[in-house]
């Protein structure tokens, strides 16, 4: 029984220059307790998915397809019920920890909101957050609550956000680009945090990242996105060791340790998508068919791939 089921999701942004197809016919499912990764380079549309699930997209976004979470169809819920889901059921650890905390409010107030939403006594709530913070390897949790956000370091902010999200005991946690902009040392801290969360809390985590190494370390299964489409889904070890899709292969080969082999060309314009495979112009293994006909998704050994080769 799938826990989160995204099928045929399309997100278009209406802009002055035309409609930008940010996410184009995406389907995937997550099982309970699983850590699922969505990997993609910048501009692949991966972050849009997380926001689409929580219905946090701006008003000029047009969403099609369906997202079901347990028994609920998220896209057709009314606002009140959606609010019941946000936070309690599905929590989002946002991409930009620095910007996601209100700079004018004490950390304590921002945490207290969580309990307001849950209807839990504030004192008890704070107590449990203190425990959570300690748990997430933070020193002096009591002092942190009295501080303002700008007094925390980047890593602390991330932990603080995570603690807030975990306080809800959500069944699904979405982490949007947790390693973006971090140097290799801070990345290690983030990795520890996620390992810890995964081990301690056992909830399902949807990780959205551009960082292949991070995904490899943390995820059970991953989906690889290219130009708004999922090109490949499968168990993380399979995909990152024996990739099927030419894009995944090229991406891995560009890693320094795999030879630093450049991938030439550009991703196609998202306003006028080409007819054929979106990777056609950059693909080493292309055939004529690839230029005219867009490949559909096919199931292969425990995963899915979107390529004419299979």
């Amino acid at each position: 029984m799938s826990y989160l089921n995204v099928s045929s999701l399309c997100v278009d942004f209406l802009t002055e220059n035309g409609s930008v197809k940010a996410v184009n016919d995406i389907s995937f499912e997550m099982k309970k307790g699983e850590t699922f990764g969505i990997i993609g380079e910048s501009g692949s549309g991966k972050s849009v998915i997380g926001q689409a699930i929580l219905r946090l997209l701006p008003s000029n976004a047009v969403v099609n397809g369906s997202i079901s979470f347990g028994a609920e169809d998220l896209l057709s819920l009314d606002n009140k019920n959606m609010r019941q889901i946000r936070g309690r059921e599905i929590s989002l650890i946002p991409q930009n920890p620095a910007g996601s905390l209100n700079p004018l409010l004490k950390n304590k107030i921002q945490v207290a909101e969580v309990f307001e939403v849950m209807g839990v006594n504030k004192k008890e709530g704070i107590k449990s957050v203190l425990g959570m913070l300690k748990n997430l390897l933070m020193k002096e949790p009591a002092r942190i609550l009295e501080n303002h956000p700008h007094e925390l370091s980047g890593g602390m902010k991330q932990r603080f956000l995570a603690a807030m999200c975990l306080s809800y005991k959500p069944s699904l946690l979405i982490a949007d680009e947790p390693t973006k902009g971090l140097d290799s040392f801070s990345k290690k801290g983030t990795l520890d945090l996620f390992r810890h969360m995964k081990g301690e809390h056992g909830n399902s985590i949807l990780v959205i990242t551009h960082d292949l190494d991070f995904a490899l370390e943390i995820c059970d299964r991953v989906a690889v996105m290219y130009a708004g489409q999922i090109v490949e889904v499968g168990p993380v070890t399979d995909i990152l060791q024996i990739p099927s899709h030419p894009y995944t292969k090229a991406l891995l080969n560009a890693l320094p340790r795999n030879g630093l082999i450049p991938l030439h060309g550009h991703t196609p314009s998202r306003i006028d998508l080409p007819d054929g495979c979106l990777f056609y112009t950059r693909c080493n293994l292309r055939s004529d068919k690839c230029g005219t006909e867009r490949p559909a998704t096919k199931s292969i050994k425990g995963g899915v791939v979107r390529c004419h080769l299979y």
Partner: protein, 277 residues
Amino acid sequence: MTGKIFRRKDMTISILLLALLVVVAISYPLLALSDPNAIDLTNKNLAPSAEHPLGTDYLGRDILNRLAAGTTTSLSIAAGVSAISLFVGVLIGCISGYYGGIIDETLSRIIDIFLSFPGIVFALAIMGFLGGGVINLILALSVVHWAKYARLMRGQVLSIKENEYVLSAKIIGAGDFHIMRKHLIPNSVATVIILATIDIGHVLLSIAALNFLGIGLPADIPEWGAMLSAGKEFMRTSPYQTIFPGMAITMVVIIFSIIGEGLRDIFDPNDTGGEYL
């Protein structure tokens, strides 16, 4: 860029209206259709009619004719003030922001001093003692306005002077003058120009206010603020000579606000259309 400008309806209308005003302003003195100062005492204080579409003023002069003639004066004073204060402001702001240190300290202090005078009071003081007249008016208002631009410009320069293309230009061996001219000014002046665009409206309001207090321009010069102020005495017997110039000023201020704010939206780096990816 142009496409972006004309996609906004309010911008398009405003720009067309402004273009019309500028055409009137430039062509009016050349055409010299009829003397805006010609008086006709028996036909004074008339309401709008076919012959005088906006009525006549207290000396029987055609209000439409004078409004049209006033376009030249009002717009050129406003343009003169903006040009002078923009030039001085950008220059001083740029030098202050770029060099930093004691130069910045000194210039910033001077800017602060000028900013701490409420504008109209300062202009009033200068005008009160220099006397009325076009040149004095432009000078007084420029003295009041430049500091605002200087401060904005300084802020802009401070925010971009550590940008990598500026550093790179330095490493390449570009001189200070080159860096200011090619890198700092082009990349910060847009914001200042936008402010100036909106500010042209404020200049028009300041001119009107000074005229209202009786120390702006003489009433025989067809200028909107001066017309308004001369007409205020006839406010109830013949309100047109106050209402129409007032409306003209309001409309032009609105036009400049719309254009200025439209420009701000267009120049806004956040508005790239691709931010959602």
